[in-house]
């Protein structure tokens, strides 16, 4: 149960009450902040991982040859497994979890959360069918039974093509969802959060896949391809992280510079830059060192995705509490 409301205003000792009411109302928040905490952070990370893996698996199926089979296989399994906790995390976060199905009453194109529910359902459907197809190919469903025969008959390439749209959607809509609120930090970055989450989703999924593909010789080409995607996504992620930092300005961007959320944001930047630097270093290192560097780089990219989502979600809490940031946003917006 949330704690009762308490008033923490920011009067310095000895200052008169009137000092607080010159620019704002006793320094109290103008808007109400979100209640979203760790379940939502984990959902954002896992949703990105699932969406990114599905994108990589689909792309590998569509344009990759035999060498890309391991990407398709591991990507499809990872996409489904990473998606599984998502609905549970979302339902746990509701004030009335037993009413989760009320989300299915309507489709609202101006509500990213409503679209997100339907997008998640679409993703689940394509991810599940892809999983079935892959399991049948791998012989996990047995040989002669009905399920295996039906699953083997699923059109593989069409399935891969159809899964691309919900996969990209799942990886990016959460950024749009945050941007469509009155929280100044999110609203100011409404155009950047979606692309940022997409880049982070792809880099973290590529990192996870390269870790899962291991260092065996027969998956070496697949791992190289995935690591190339990881590097490209990291470049985009670093650019967008800087755009968010600089575009927020000194007042609205305060939560990204101070406190725990600020630390997490700095960590996300450092992880992305570190991962990219290690990848580049690995390219010019001897083989045994390169392998270790790539391993650390992938772990860094995965950790960075987590730090990024935490800093943006919890930074939003700080931002909503800050009347200066709200007023800065509502004065400057026109």
């Amino acid at each position: 149960m949330p704690e009762l409301r308490t008033w923490r205003h920011r009067r310095a000792p000895g200052e008169p009450v009137s000092a607080e009411t010159r620019e704002s109302y006793y320094g109290l928040p103008v808007i109400h902040g979100p209640h979203w905490r760790w379940p939502i952070v984990f959902y954002f990370v896992l949703g990105g991982l699932a969406g990114g893996s599905a994108v990589l698996a689909a792309a590998a199926r569509l344009v990759g040859g035999d060498w890309a089979r391991p990407i398709v296989r591991v990507g499809r399994y990872l996409a489904f497994l990473a998606m599984l906790p998502g609905p549970l995390l979302l339902i746990v976060d509701l004030g009335r979890p037993e009413r989760f199905h009320h989300m299915l009453r309507v489709v609202k194109f101006r509500s990213p959360m409503s679209l997100g529910v339907w997008g998640l359902i679409g993703f689940t459907a394509t991810a599940f069918l892809s999983l079935l197809r892959q399991a049948a190919t791998d012989g996990l469903l047995g040989r002669a039974n009905v399920v295996a025969r039906l699953a083997r008959r699923l059109p593989d390439r069409i399935l891969a093509g159809a899964s691309l749209v919900p996969a990209f959607f799942l990886a990016g809509y959460t950024g749009v969802l945050l941007g469509a609120t009155a929280v100044p930090l999110w609203a100011r970055n409404a155009l950047r959060l979606g692309p940022l989450f997409l880049c982070s989703a792809l880099s973290s999924a590529a990192a996870a896949l390269s870790l899962l593909l291991g260092s065996r010789a027969e998956t070496a080409r697949a791992r190289h391809a995935v690591e190339r995607v990881e590097r490209l996504a990291l470049v985009g992620e670093i650019a967008l992280l800087e755009a968010v930092r600089l575009g927020s300005g000194p007042v609205i961007g305060r939560p990204l510079a101070e406190g725990l959320a600020g630390g997490a944001f700095a960590g996300a930047r450092a992880s992305a830059m570190g991962a990219l630097a290690l990848h580049l270093l690995a390219a010019v290192s001897p083989r045994w060192l390169g392998r270790a560097l790539r391993l650390v780089a992938s772990l860094l990219a995965l950790g960075g995705a987590f730090l990024l989502r935490s800093s943006i979600v919890f930074g939003g809490h700080r931002s909503a509490e800050d009347p200066d940031a709200t007023f800065e946003f509502t004065r400057a917006s026109r």
Binding site: S24, H32, R96, K108, S111, L191
Partner: protein, 282 residues
């Protein structure tokens, strides 16, 4: 306040009902808060003293749908005591805050269950049998009105006494207001009354202005507020945003940049995989 476009204009529909809250008439008695709590059977909040003038309510919340703000403007921005008092209220400002029942409501557009609806009175109401407490309406409101209740996990806010309106009664707060600082009625009639009142106050030398038209408060796609205010200080002093924006304005642009990013990333992925094919054939 610098812009003059949209002054006194609203996109409220002809049959809309709303509030005019005239802060120059408010005496800070909190009868509206009490009447609201009684009629809507809202439980009490944290009982204590805040140290913020006579305001021990603090904020609108799940169980507080009217909130009287007290602002003691006894010093100006530089800390000097004012040489000249407003001719009527000794620079002690009081404002009874309430849900604005926006013409285009951010909370309603955000709601993924359709629990938040626009009624036949053009007011915005959260249907309690539908709300599942997702909490998206809470940060989607540019004024900080809806809140999740720790008691039942659902979002709550002012209903503009929907049940009373259905029975032809005026809302409890405006009924209880002893000075008619809170007036209830059709939005367009109230707006005309508000404009006349602002002109009258200006003639007396009071720097009065309207908050809740398309120039101030109802800006950025909100299209005006069905519950609007007459203020005598900048809106920030009352903890109101001067030029808020409808958050859903950013949904389509956000999806467009995301789609562009998805396209670029998709092409980059395909190219990365293609290069692998060629690179190793050599």
């Amino acid at each position: 306040m610098s812009s003059t476009t949209g002054v006194g204009r609203t996109r409220a529909r002809p049959g809309a009902f709303g509030f005019l809250t005239d802060t120059t008439l408010c005496i800070g008695c909190k009868a509206c808060e009490v009447a609201c709590k009684q009629w809507n059977q809202l439980p009490m909040d944290d009982f204590g003293f805040t140290g913020m003038s006579y305001d021990n309510t603090g904020d609108l919340g799940a169980t507080t749908w009217r909130h009287v703000a007290f602002i003691e403007r006894i010093a100006d921005r530089e800390g000097r005591r004012p040489a000249r008092l407003q001719p009527f209220q000794s620079n002690w400002l009081m404002l009874s805050d309430v849900c604005k029942h926006c013409v285009n409501a951010g909370c309603m557009e955000a709601c993924p269950t359709g629990a938040i609806i626009r009624t036949e009175f053009d007011t915005v109401v959260i249907q309690q049998d539908i709300c599942n407490g997702c909490g998206y309406c809470v940060p989607a409101c540019p004024f900080g009105v809806p809140a999740l209740s720790p008691l039942d996990g659902k979002a709550h806010k002012c209903t503009l006494c929907y049940d009373r309106l259905r029975d032809g009664l005026e809302p409890a707060c405006s009924k209880a207001c002893p000075t008619d600082a809170i007036q209830f009625g059709p939005v367009h009639a109230l707006l005309d009354r508000a404009k006349a009142r602002v002109a009258e106050l200006r003639a007396q030398g009071v720097e009065a202005h309207l908050y809740g038209d398309e120039a101030l408060g109802g800006t950025g796609g909100i299209g005006g507020l069905n519950a609007f205010f007459i203020l005598t200080a900048p809106p920030e002093v009352y903890n109101l945003p001067a030029k808020p924006e409808l958050p859903q304005r950013r949904v389509l642009p956000g999806f467009l940049t995301s789609a562009l990013a998805a396209l670029v990333l998709g092409i980059a992925t395909v190219l990365a995989f293609r290069r692998e094919k060629e690179g190793h054939r050599a």
